[in-house]
């Protein structure tokens, strides 16, 4: 199979981008480039866009494409989506004929695409002005923390669109009826869990069939609360000893304590996300860890009058971590470096991420967005609490390591399943995490990411 001439491709792209190519190369910092006025930069040609067809559909992007076509005569945008788009994109990447713009979905290994130089670095484009604004760069319109998720070796390859927050949810009506309050701290949680259990309801359920929910909902938030974000950054960086350090061991012990006390719903270990979430909606379990997609995912199944509320996982009293910190997640977009018409792809995505379109997306789809000003204004009820948490957060974190180091994600998930079943002790559990982390650390074939 042929090696594609990447550098020529890249040159062509940079040329298409106009005069901004020199900026990062020469090191000159010039935040405000020319306005991306369509009249100044005529766009034309065909653009093929391939999208992951998930919970939010692709209708929003389709109508955005029609608007864009109207504003730019001569542009033709072909949009298609599929729930397993990554399987269709793989051979196209291999044959060097990828689409112009891609939202490859959770089944795609985005970082591997970067290692294979299949994604275009977007740093120069991010210095241009966004749609509808003149006084800032496109980059500045995104949440800065989220932009870090798309970086590799100092360049930005992946762009976010919608944003999810991970936390816990409680059954509002049940809590109101019983006079319970969402637990702010571990001690509050323990007291409340005992109460809930004696009321004949499972305090907590979880999506045991997919153990990463337990990482996002229990282990990592508590480890961060105990040891501060530094403890987590060390773990992300695979520093020796980081995964078995005290905060992680403490946190694993807390999970074990919940299991021993019988506060997890019976059988939750074998439940898919759907099964566990249905138990929560049916009031058989009072709380569940999940992302902000929960309501949209289950919207057809909400019992009449059911209300749920988002809250941050209970913090650990006396811990070093900032209590306002929130966990975010995105599903990134990218511009394939071998795709046709990359300049048009970038401009179309810039249009989608404009403030007006972002707000429209939030309103229509009921999700938060990675575009800063998109989360202001009218929000659906269930998003009020997450949006507030996001506004008040002094820092954010994400499970980037799981995307970077897939073998670690797999092995650590299996270890988590054992911990949740009670077949390993918390001590043995963190030993296993550490062993897997060092295996990845010592594997020269796995590219490593710097943690800032």
């Amino acid at each position: 199979m042929p090696l594609h001439d990447f550098s020529a491709q890249r040159r062509r792209v940079l040329k298409a981008l106009g005069g901004f190519a020199c900026l990062s190369a020469s090191g000159c910092v010039h935040p405000i480039a020319e306005e991306s006025d369509p009249r100044g930069q005529p766009r034309s040609g065909d653009l093929e866009v391939r999208l992951f067809l998930g919970g939010y559909g692709i209708d929003f992007y389709e109508s955005a494409a029609r608007e864009y076509e109207q504003a730019h005569p001569g542009v033709k945008i072909d949009i298609k989506g599929d729930p397993r788009i990554w399987d269709q994109l793989r051979p196209r990447f291999v044959s060097g004929e990828p689409p112009g713009l891609a939202f490859p979905g959770w089944g795609m290994d985005h970082y591997a695409l970067i290692y294979e130089r299949q994604a275009l670095p977007l740093d120069d484009a991010l210095l241009t002005t966004p749609y509808g604004k003149t006084r800032c760069t496109w980059r500045e319109t995104f949440l800065p923390e989220v932009m870090k998720m798309g970086e590799y070796e100092g360049q930005t390859y992946l762009l976010p669109h919608y944003l999810t927050l991970n936390g816990w949810w409680c059954n509002v009506n049940l809590f109101r009826e019983k006079g319970w309050k969402p637990p702010q701290s571990w001690n509050e949680f323990k007291a409340l869990a005992a109460q809930i259990k004696s009321a004949g309801i499972a305090p907590l359920t979880h999506q045991g069939k997919y153990p990463y929910y337990a990482f996002q909902g229990f282990l990592l938030p508590w480890a961060i609360s105990i040891g501060g974000i530094e403890a987590y950054r060390k773990a992300e960086a695979l520093e020796p000893g980081a995964w078995k350090a005290a905060p992680f061991l403490e946190s694993a012990r807390m999970i074990d304590e919940i299991r021993k006390a019988g506060w997890f719903q019976n059988g939750a270990n074998g439940m898919s996300h759907t099964e566990a979430q249905m138990e929560f909606l049916q009031g058989k379990a009072a709380m569940i860890p999940c992302g902000t997609w929960l309501e949209s995912e289950m919207k057809k199944q909400l019992p009449a009058g059911f209300k749920m509320e988002f809250f941050l996982p209970p913090r650990v009293d006396g811990g070093k971590g900032d209590p306002s910190i929130v966990q975010v997640g995105v599903e990134p977009w990218l511009v394939p470096s071998l795709g046709k018409n990359p300049a048009l792809a970038i401009d179309f995505f810039k249009y989608i991420t404009s403030e007006a379109k972002a707000r429209q997306f939030v309103r229509e789809k009921g999700t938060l967005t990675a575009i800063r000003s998109g989360n202001e204004g009218d929000l659906p009820d269930t998003l009020q609490a997450p949006a507030r948490a996001l506004r008040e957060a002094k820092a954010t974190w994400s499970t980037r390591y799981a995307q970077w180091y897939k073998p670690f994600e797999d092995a650590s998930g299996k270890a988590m399943a054992e911990l949740l079943q009670g077949s390993v002790t918390p001590e043995k559990f963190v030993e296993k995490l550490e062993a897997e982390a060092s295996r990845v650390r010592e594997d020269p074939n796995i590219p490593k990411h710097k943690v800032q």
Binding site: G57, R84, P91, Q277, M278, Q301
Partner: protein, 287 residues
């Protein structure tokens, strides 16, 4: 055969019937329930039938595609593929089992061990091959998203199973019959066509029915080779609905969709099972 069964034999028979039937009956009535109903009382009968499940499964709901448009594609692809598979498969198997030549056993094993090769490893090279084979007029853009490409792939990938099943039946055919016919002056083709093929009918029906079911439900190859919605087959449509469960749970429609895909295959089976049985009992095989 004249053998009477003891009453005790009916215990496992009826037990098996129950085990086979109950899940299917359950699937059927569950497709008429709402999702909360399914989860609250998964084994209870529907309180009132939710026919809209079928409407959603067929037409799609809230802007998401349903199964309807893919039905005809599936019928055509499955029908054409199975006819070709039986022709190509029977010819190859007969050649390998009745004309012994050096390497015939090896080729037979090569065919059947194809069943063990994980299809998804061949997916990328297969896609590239079909995508780059371009024939002006027939397939100017290559054989991906092309019915001919998909049918050819289905025929090729069904050969291992077909040869496997047919080899058992062809081996059991008495070679003497063929030789006798040859002595009577019949040519090779006449022996194959007029003597052997009719005798192998039970095998052809077995292979045919299973290939219909297999191709009707085939997913991984269709996924890689088809990306135009107009060309989609039912399993791709079904997968869209199942995948959607991860973002928007609607089990009622999922079960309805499962049933919609199941019923035609079921009908084919019911239509052929009589012939299948007749095939098993008819002909020279009985001795």
């Amino acid at each position: 055969m004249h053998r009477r069964l003891s009453t005790w034999s009916y215990v496992p028979l009826c037990g098996y019937a129950l085990i086979v039937l109950f899940p299917l009956v359950w699937l059927t009535y569950t497709s008429l329930k709402s999702t909360p109903e399914i989860f609250l009382g998964p084994w209870a009968l529907p309180r009132a039938p939710h026919w809209e499940n079928f409407v959603h499964a067929w037409q799609g709901s809230s802007g998401e595609p349903g199964l309807g448009p893919y039905f005809l594609n599936s019928v055509v692809i499955t029908g054409v593929s199975v006819v070709l598979i039986l022709m190509v498969g029977a010819a190859a198997t007969y050649s390998l089992t009745h004309y012994r030549f050096r390497g015939s056993e090896l080729i037979l094993n090569l065919f059947t061990s194809g069943m063990a090769f994980p299809i998804f490893l061949a997916a990328v090279p297969l896609f590239l091959l079909l995508n780059q084979t371009r024939i002006p007029g027939l397939a100017p853009k290559g054989f991906t998203n092309h019915p001919v490409g998909l049918v050819a792939v289905y025929v090729a990938y069904s050969l291992p199973f077909t040869v496997f099943v047919l080899s058992g039946f062809f081996r059991a055919l008495p070679r003497e019959l063929g030789e006798a016919a040859r002595v009577d002056g019949a040519g090779h083709f006449a022996v194959f066509h007029r003597v052997m093929m009719p005798l192998a009918r039970p095998g052809l029906i077995v292979a045919g029915v299973f290939n219909v079911i297999g191709i009707w439900n085939e997913y991984p190859l269709a996924l890689v080779l088809l990306s135009d919605r107009e060309r989609f087959t039912l399993p791709l449509g079904l997968a869209q609905i199942t995948q959607r469960q991860q973002y928007s749970v609607d089990f009622g429609s999922l079960f309805a969709a499962l049933l919609i895909v199941l019923l035609p295959a079921f009908a084919v089976y019911l239509a052929f099972q009589r012939q299948l049985r007749q095939g098993l009992t008819a002909g020279a095989l009985k001795g």
